[in-house]
Structures are given as C-alpha cells and as structure tokens.
Amino acid sequence: MIEFQNISFAYEKERPVLSNLSFCIREGENVGLIGANGAGKSTVMKVLLGLLKAEGRILVDGTEVTKGSLTEIRRKLGFVLQNSDNQMFMPTVYEDMIFAPLNYGLSRTEAEERVDKALEKLGLQELKHRHNHKISGGEKRMAAIATVLAMEPEVILMDEPTSALDPYNRRIVINTIRSLPQTKIITSHDLDMILDTCDRVILLSGGELAADGPADAILRDRALLEAHRMELPLCLGGARRQG
C-alpha cells in the first residue's frame, strides 16, 4: 500500500510543483496518473522513489520513505523510466537485466534464472544478447520493462510507457502492461492507453489533485478533462469534437 500524506514539492522556491497532495493506493490497483504536460506526474514518481525530497509523508507498506528506508523501499518499486536510453546503459540487454538482481545480492545463477523468467514472460528471449544501441525504440521499451521485471518488484511504476512508440509497439506495450499482475502506477497523457490498462485514475493539474476515481467515470467526463487541458480518449469520441 502506498500512501501520500500532504505532499508538497518545489524545484524552485516560488514555484510549487506539487501542492498538498494526498491519496492512497492499495495493493493490486492499477492507477493511471494523468495530467497535461508539466502537471507534475513525473515529479510524483520521483518523490515516491525518494529521488526528490518533498514536504509531507509518504508511506510504502507502512514504512515512511526516508533516507534510511530507501533501500528497502526501492526494492519493492520497479521504475520504468520515460527515456529507455537512460535505463539501458549496459552494452547488452542481458547485462542490463542482471544488473539489479546482482545488486540485491542474488547469486549469479539465481539472477540468471530471473532474467530468463522475465524475458520469457514478455516473449523477448531473442533480445537477450542483443546490443542496446542496436535495437529499435519499441524493443528498447520492452527491454526496459524486462529489466524492471527481473527485479521482481511488488509495484511497477511507469512514466509515459507509450510515448514515442508507433501504434504497433504501443499495442504490444499495452498488452504487456495488462498481463502484469503487480500493482501499477502509470503516468501518461495517452488516455486511451490509461483506459485500457487502469481501473482508477488520479488527475493532476498544476500539481494539485483535480480528481480521483474510477477510470471509466473520469475518462468519460469531457468537461472535467477539458478544464484541465486534456481531451476525451479517442475511443470515447475524443476525435469527433468539432461537430
């Protein structure tokens, strides 16, 4: 369970990016964190992961996120970065995937098993020994998801998982997300993807919580979405606006 209690954060003093944010995410939920560009979605993730220090309290399974608890907490949270190039920094996919398990003290055999398991789960066995700079954007995103799966986290955080993907690869990523049993928090302004993958939506606007509720209800609320610089998902008629 993840609990945000009155979280406020600012990169620069006068310009708050998150203001007094409180919400709670239960085990097994699939939560879409939506909002226009600059709404503060990525910042929420970074604060949760302890990469940024915010005012207020964040609890993960009852443990407060502090310097001392970071190792324990990060072990539970797998973060898929928005830019896969920053996630995949080793020469090959395999080396990247085994990086986390080894850091967490697994033996090489155990770590290898995890890598193979994650690759198999995503059907990516053929990527294993490929060089990171020689795989396509879609493959790289999938590989980045695989590196995080190899950590066997309890919660998976994804920052804009479908950004910069073509429709085909986007569909693959969406299907993959749907097949993962873990608790998920996904940020995006791709509302169609959120509708496909999440059952709950938190709407951020200017760093404040603008709405929190079932995906079905919020993503159908044209007035609400447009008030916060977003549009209905295409599949719900977002494209037929002019009429």
Partner: protein
C-alpha cells in the same frame, strides 16, 4: 550520420569488437591485462637510440592482429586522432640532436632523427597494443580484472562510468549538431559565436541524462560497487600465453635480435 554521431557509434563498436570470438578473446582478461602491461613496460624501457630494438617489438601487435581477427584498418581508423599527437612528441629531437649516428648507404641519420623515430614507434606500438586489449576485452571484463589486481572499487567504478558517460555525451552532442545543421544549411562545423552556448547546453544536457541514468542505477539497487560479470576462469592456456609473451619480451629486450639477424644475413 553526422561526425559526432559516428564518434558515438565507434564507442559502441568497441563493445562489439570485444564481443567477437577468437583465441585471444577467449583468454582470461587478467592474463591479457598483465601481458599488455609487460609489453608497455618493455617497449618504454628501450633506450632512446635503440630503433632496431623497438622495431622488433612490432611482432607482438602483429601476432595479436592475426590471432584476434581485429582488422588493422579499424585500429588505425579509431586511433586516427591520437596517433598524430603521439607522433608529434619527438618532432623536435632532430633540431636539437644533430650528431650523425647511422649511415645507410648515402643517407646519414642524425641522433635526433633516430630518437624521434624510436619515440614515434614506441608511441604507436603502445597505442596499438592498448587498443588491441580494449578490442578483445569488454570494458566490464577489464574492470573486473583491475578489481582482481586489488585496485580499490572506487577508481574502477569511475573508469566504467566515465566510459559510459562519454558515450552519452557523444549521443547528446550528435543530436545537437544535427539540430544545429538543420537550421544552418551549408555551414561546415559550428559557428564560433555559437560555441559557448553549444558547449553549455551540451554540458547541461549530458548532466541531465547522466543524473537520470544514475538514478536509474540507484533505483535498481546500485550502491557504488559493480558486480562484474563472472570473469573467465584462469586456465592453462592463460599461464602459457602470459609466460611465453613475457619471455619473448625479455628476449627482445635483452638480446639484440635485429643485430643478430643482420649479422647472420650478412655473413
């Protein structure tokens, strides 16, 4: 592909060369590292007029090229920026040291020329051998070998991160150069007045990416110590390779092979 991008690509190519298969690639990285160090020490220890002595040392890189299947051309291509620098080191010797030293028919070489050539060869040979080590051993394996030599973790980790970081910087530079040229058609290079902001941006952007990358590592449990891939075990062949090479180097260094050969031929 622009020039900078090609640079980034070349870094990746080193990783790929190192992933090939050959008798040299399959040696234990530690054996290769030690042999390389022995080679460098031997080459650098030749006296400054000992041109023929140094020349014989070419044998080792030539053998390595043969056995590893790394194309000689690739080597010189990759070293094209450093080689001239190394070659330039001895350039002034001929002006200071005009004592005639060696007569080859009608040609008289001064001490300065000989020492310049010796120095150049030393530089080129050392670079070639260092390149061959890098081209047959992945940076991770190399770092693992350094750790095995009891070098403390911090410098080795730094070395590895620097290697990766240079790659990132090259990628950012490539993207920026592209963006620049798209809006400055027909211009060669980057206008001098734009250099300041270009470099500033490059630094900021690569710092940004560097810190993203680093948080990516921290989030995956990185705490300052790499778990290098299991190093290839030390086998008999490694002992043989190291011993034979070091023995050869000693022979080359202590006995004047070129002269011996020369006198044999002349006789």
């Amino acid at each position: 592909m622009n020039q900078v991008e090609r640079g980034a690509c070349e870094l990746h190519e080193m990783d790929e060369l190192a992933a090939r298969q050959s008798p040299i690639h399959s040696l234990c990285p530690l054996a290769k590292l030690l042999t390389t160090i022995a080679y460098l020490v031997t080459v650098l220890s030749f006296r400054k007029y000992d041109l023929s002595g140094v020349t014989v040392m070419l044998l080792y890189p030539v053998l390595l090229f043969q056995l590893s299947g790394i194309p000689v051309r690739t080597c010189f291509h990759k070293l094209r920026f450093v080689l001239p620098l190394v070659m330039a080191v001895g350039l002034f010797n001929p002006f200071f040291d005009r004592q005639p030293m060696l007569t080859l028919g009608a040609l008289t070489l001064s001490g300065g020329v000989i020492s310049m050539l010796t120095l150049m060869l030393k530089g080129v040979f050392c670079l070639m051998t260092a390149f061959l080590l890098m081209a047959t051993t992945s940076i991770d394996a190399l770092c693992a070998a350094l750790r095995r030599l009891r070098l403390s973790g911090m410098p080795v980790t730094l070395l590895l991160l620097t290697y990766r970081y240079v790659g990132i910087m090259a990628e950012e530079a490539a993207a920026m150069t592209d963006a620049y040229h798209l809006r400055a058609p027909g211009q060669r290079g980057i206008r001098f007045s734009a250099w300041g902001s270009f470099l500033g941006q490059l630094l900021l952007r690569s710092m940004d990416r560097g810190s993203e990358l680093y948080s990516g590592m921290q989030l995956r449990g990185f705490r300052g110590e790499f778990h290098y891939a299991a190093m290839k075990p030390w086998r008999w062949s490694d002992t043989v390779y190291l011993t034979v090479c070091v023995a050869l180097f000693l022979v080359f260094r202590l006995f004047h092979l070129a002269q011996l050969l020369g006198s044999l031929l002349v006789r």
